[in-house]
Amino acid sequence: MQAQPLRMALTIGGIALCVVLMLFLLSVYRGVADGSIEYIRSNKTDLWVLQGGATNILRGSSILSTGHGNLLRDIPGIQSVSPILFLLSTIKKGSQTSTVYLTGYDVTTGIGSPPQLLEGRHVQDDGEIVLDHSFAAKFQFNVGDQVVTREDTLQVVGISARTNMFVIQYAFVTLRQAQSQIGYPGLVTCYLVKVQDPSTIAAIRERIRDELPGLEVYDHEEFLRNNIREMQSGFLPLLYTIAAIGGIVLTTILSLILSINILEGRKDFAVMKTLGSPRRFLHGLIFKQGLQISSAGCIVALVLFFPVVRLIERLAPEVSTKTSLEQISGVMLAVWGISIFSSLLAVRRVRRIYTLEAFT
């Protein structure tokens, strides 16, 4: 292998690209998961109240009226009821139009606001908007700029983080501004309910169900789980498919290169067998070689990964990634697992090398 530097470079390069692909997918997944769920996670409320049949806000619709809010406020033990309206809206920049997940919330309570601001401030009044940072970067919007959404011209007052769902990004306005876009001022998507005494959450939940039949009431954890499940069902099959393809390519590269090395070193293996090599020693050589090649691939991948991610994020700002040590360790372990599996496939070839071949 060392005698074939080009082949070695191509092999290690191929493995490194597979590892980069796996790491990138995981990082995108973490980024999407974070961007999709963090909004819900950070708006820590006691109960989420939606229209009957609605389980989540990512891929479900719920329409409630402001009258529902008044009825909720009348229930004893409830401290606050904050309405939120989610709707798909468009933002224009020149000839370009892009869709945002417009979120109108009650700016007086602040419940429903972005989980993190990178620049500027939260919206305080109608005519203002907070944009997600990747959306803002893609369309080069800055704090102070004017954006046109449907008929309205709004001023960008803040840039938010952890609000990028990859295929779409959150944008934040006042509830009234959002309601004006759909033309029905009395409509909201859901209510976020806080109770006075946390020990009464379950009881109040039952009471809402009793008094307002036809509504769905979830505690915070359950609602979070529903949304995570929804996000994963849309994204994980794609992730698993691409990761599986990466794994198959990696296994193929490793098995192929190990098999070629065995075939090229066939005589050496025959000689070693004739000289009394224990079977485990020969198998160990294959496993060692597999681990060495895959480890080299992992090292190159780690060197390449972060610059590649930075480049992709610069070219496509909506691609938001999040990488952790656990992810890297997990991918490395997976690669070593694949290396062992590939070695097992290759080892069968050693069994078919006979001692007599040393004499031919």
């Binding site: 004739t274 000289l275 009394g276």
Partner: protein
Amino acid sequence: MNQPENRSEIVRLENVSKVFGVNGHGMTAVQAVTLSLSAGELVLLLGPSGSGKTTLLTLMAGLIEPSEGSVSLFGDDVGEYSEEELQRLRARRLRFIFQNFLLIESLSVLENITLVLRFAGKEAGEARLAARNLLRQFDIDRLADRYPAKLSQGEKQRVAIARAIANGAELIIADEPSASLELSQGLEIIMLLRSLAKEGNRCVVVASHDLRLVEFADRVFRMRDGAIDEEVRVSGHATRSG
């Protein structure tokens, strides 16, 4: 395994034949060979290419099974050894010197020797030390870190012999060891092998077509068409026509 009745007997072949191929289209490589080889002797299997010398060597070493007859190695029938026992025999008591020496090209000289010592069960450090001592004994310790591609044929020959006697093998089987060597190197290797047989009380079997080696052997078996057609006892000057 049982100890041999006669402790000096290393290999015994009784009416051994080897036929390659199946369904009646076989090619007889070795035919009805009976012989016994003992410690302390250098035995030459002499014959042209295709006469069955190499097949006979591999039968003696238990690398292949006879089609007929029996092969006894170190006192036990080869067929009674398990795969692991045969591997251990090859690692500890039996060694080969191949045509062109067949050193492992990707390993240095020191590693080539260390490798066989590791096969014999020595720990890494111990094997490395023993390999260095062996190279010193053969006066080739300067070659320790060189790779086979950088060695002359004569140097390869010495390394191959050092590898063969590492760990004190009792049976050394050499297949055409002088084939790729010049005359002087060929004679040097046969003299080395003879001294291994005599001073180390080993059984050394050499397969060759080189008539110049005859005078160094204790016994010479002339092979033709897979059969031994003549045994020449050089030291005792006794001959037997087959």
